[in-house]
Symmetry: C2
Subunit: 494 residues, 2 copies
């Protein structure tokens, strides 16, 4: 196999997964309500065909040969090397496992939805038990050195380890708890203009489009639609689609959600067409991916400079609702710190508590240190400890997230890791750009350009950790996020 054949095979596989992404997007946006059954089957066929192409013995042999090819550039070799690693992992998962997991999660998802509606964990428990068992099996199949959770983490952030995540949370959590307490002590944020005044849907949607375009999302090669759960998906770098969710009484949640997804989407639009199919033309590493949504949503989008730029626009779109609201009040409301039961509604500080909680549960379920039946009590105790909240029922507790019903374990840590990377990247960017001045003027192009060059262009060529070292000159350091958070809520005078 030469490099061209190698890329050709990957392009074909990526065509299939791109087609599956179109079907997935359609499922969440425009698909009629009665069309689910066969859509699932069609998606299953696409992914199983992609899997067989990728795991074909001949492809594996070709990769071996290609790695010996002296004519490869270092970059090409790195691509092939990553594919070879993925190939080895994919070969360890038999097709029968994938099919069993698909059957299980179809049922698990239904049970979860019913359990959540009926606020009854017992309905979901037997399925979660099976999900845990299958993830234990998966970890065994994939193999690991120290902790079975390492094998799962690899799917979302190859190179990340359970021990490293534990170390990061050990630094992060106590510092955050202290900071949250300080912020809450002095807190007095005006929220009436958001919670008691309606911001009509159509104006919010127009605003979402304006904001996305302003920060740099290319609408000639992408769309913004609405969906129950906001997401971004890429069919290829020239067709990247995102959705948002708008609530008339949650203006800033809608704005945050849109900018978050725009951050993901601009990452996808920043992958290079000539690398289509290659690791370099994709991103499977979700920590880096999350750094790109968070840097736009939080580091840029919740900054004082951003509100300086946004405020006149908000006043123009909602003159009645905001007639007596100052820029400072908007800024404070957008940065409200308020513990919540629900992860996706959490602010920048309390968010990590939610992740730490889930990480602990997943890890202990996997080793058997925690039993499925004990999850609700563990959850509720932890919520009390971490955020001082009394969970009223499991729908607002351990049944809130869809991830386990999807069969996923190991995904959650990337949400926190991405946020930490974002803070570290922001500092690196500020060394080269006067970001605040640019943001305040609405000149986002240089920021996007910086991210394009440093983060987007390499695609998946480096792990999240490697990329961080290349770009910032040091490994991931949660101190950057903590400094960012402290400076936001307790700015130095002057």
């Amino acid at each position: 196999m030469n490099f061209a054949t190698y890329q050709q095979t990957l392009r074909k596989i990526t065509d299939l997964s791109g087609a599956a992404a179109v079907l997935g997007w359609d499922t969440e946006t425009y698909m009629p309500s009665g069309s689910h059954a066969l859509r699932g089957q069609q998606l299953g066929t696409l992914s199983s065909m992609a899997h067989s192409l990728f795991t074909a013995e001949s492809f594996g042999q070709g990769l071996q040969t290609l790695l010996q090819d002296p004519s490869l550039t270092p970059e090409q070799r790195q691509n092939v090397h990553i594919t070879q690693e993925e190939y080895e992992r994919a070969r360890r998962i038999p097709a029968s496992f994938v099919e069993r997991m698909a059957s299980l999660t179809t049922l698990a998802h239904q049970a979860w939805a019913r359990a959540k509606t009926e606020k009854n964990f017992a309905i979901f428990a037997p399925f979660l038990t099976q999900v845990v068992a299958m993830n234990q099996e998966k970890a065994q199949l994939l193999g690991y050195e120290h902790h079975p959770y390492d094998a799962l983490l690899h799917d979302y952030d190859r190179g990340m380890t359970t021990a490293a995540v534990e170390g990061i949370f050990a630094t992060l959590l106590p510092a955050l708890q202290e900071l949250i307490a300080q912020v809450m002590a002095g807190l007095s944020v005006r929220m009436d203009f958001l919670e008691e005044r309606a911001y009509p849907h159509d104006e919010q949607f127009q605003l979402s489009k304006m904001l996305s375009a302003a920060v740099g999302f290319d609408f000639t090669r992408g769309r913004l639609d609405e969906a129950l759960h906001p997401f971004s998906t890429s069919f290829h770098p020239q067709d990247v689609r995102m959705t948002t969710r708008l609530d008339p009484y949650k203006l800033f949640d809608g704005i945050g959600s849109t900018i978050h997804e725009a951050g993901h989407s601009m990452h996808s639009q920043g992958l290079r067409l000539e690398h289509y199919g290659l690791p370099q033309g994709t991103y499977s590493n979700l920590s880096t991916a999350e750094s790109q949504s968070r840097i736009w949503e939080n580091n840029i989008g919740r900054s004082r400079a951003f509100m300086q730029w946004l405020y006149p626009l908000l006043r123009a779109v909602f003159p009645v609702q905001l007639h007596d609201v100052s820029e400072e009040e908007c800024y404070a409301a957008m940065n409200l710190v308020r513990p919540d039961y629900i992860r996706v509604e959490a602010d920048e500080l309390t968010y990590h508590m939610h992740i730490a909680l889930r990480f602990g549960i997943e890890k202990d379920l996997l080793t058997g240190a925690l039993l499925v039946a004990e999850v609700p009590e563990y959850w509720n105790t932890q919520m009390q400890e971490l955020l001082g909240m009394e969970v009223p029922h499991d729908a607002l507790g351990c049944l809130q997230d869809v991830h386990w019903a999807h069969g996923s374990m190991g995904y959650f840590p990337t949400y926190s890791l991405g946020t930490l990377y974002a803070a570290q990247y922001m500092v690196a960017m500020q060394r080269e750009l006067d970001a605040d001045a640019l943001i305040a003027r609405g000149e986002f192009a240089p920021l996007l350009q910086w991210l394009r060059e440093h983060i987007h262009t390499p695609g998946d060529l480096y792990t999240a950790g490697e990329l961080c070292e290349r770009v910032t000159g040091e490994p991931l350091n949660p101190g950057y996020f903590l400094r960012y958070a402290r400076e936001k809520f307790f700015p130095k005078a002057g």
Copy 2:
């Protein structure tokens, strides 16, 4: 191979073509303008994978074995038999031919679009020459007994022959020419309320949805959107989507287009889920397909009874525009006979002239009796002869249709044939139902039920001709259409 494995293979192939249909629908509806390039590649991958699954040697051998299986029901055997025929045909077309055709039509389509914009046939001519050459090659590859055009027709209406189409037009055209002359002689139709009053887009779109739902299109398993060229597409029987095109000054064109596509879509929704993948669960025969769009658009939708039901609804939606327009005036306008350059704008009578013209050209291009360079002159002369019209330029003449730019030859006759089948089916239906009374009351369900049972349920198990004989008791007879047309325009007193 047993029947279950056979169906399993076909389901997989149909999953791929269903996925391709989703991508195709998206291309025409929601895809951003800058996303074309890779979408084409992804579609190519899906169709070439479907093709290799279908033409696999092992599948062919399995079909042979299965045909010997004594446990098959007659219906199962008929399914396998049809698949076996399609397999033989598909095997005769090498993958290299499909790829050459795909490359050619990408360029041909661009050239055609430019030629049409610039009203310059010369731009398209060299590509049409290649399209003709490839269709000649295709006919040779597929083989035929009497006429190379027979080999092409088979793709759209297996069992139909060039000689049979010639025979039908020999009956149809002279009778129609006479009828058109008679109708035009006595014609005085009020059109000002359509051509000089605007019917706003949003109201038209709401009306389109109401009409589709009223005739029986199931919106829980389908959608109506808008697109430049109206079409209907099916991802599977539970997800059937159609589009329409609305012009503020062409109210009845929009209504006709919507009901036409609803007819196609209800056909697709009427295929049985348990036959998914089988010939019985699909329709590749476009003459029968067109009979289902035309019967709703014309035989039902342009009937006096339909206008009886529709008129109050129209008045309710457009009270200002229709305040001085009677039901009779609406009926007459909806049935206006007026020769036009453009096929897709043609009325029920002149439509067949457009098809006869194209059929003649395709047939003669294929045998070499007509050269590509001669097409414009031939076209214009025929338009003069058939409809008495002077074609001002080729964009309104031989460049108007996309079919040749898509590489298709042999498709056009199904438009006429479907219309003829529709008239014959309508008579058969009226033997069992008082269709006029039902239509006038807006009770369309019994009509749809009749079509479901007789036309939709068998899927592609019979050729168009066989189905016609089974349902109506006789072969296709254009006399039914002619009688329908005469009675519409010259109703008997009483």
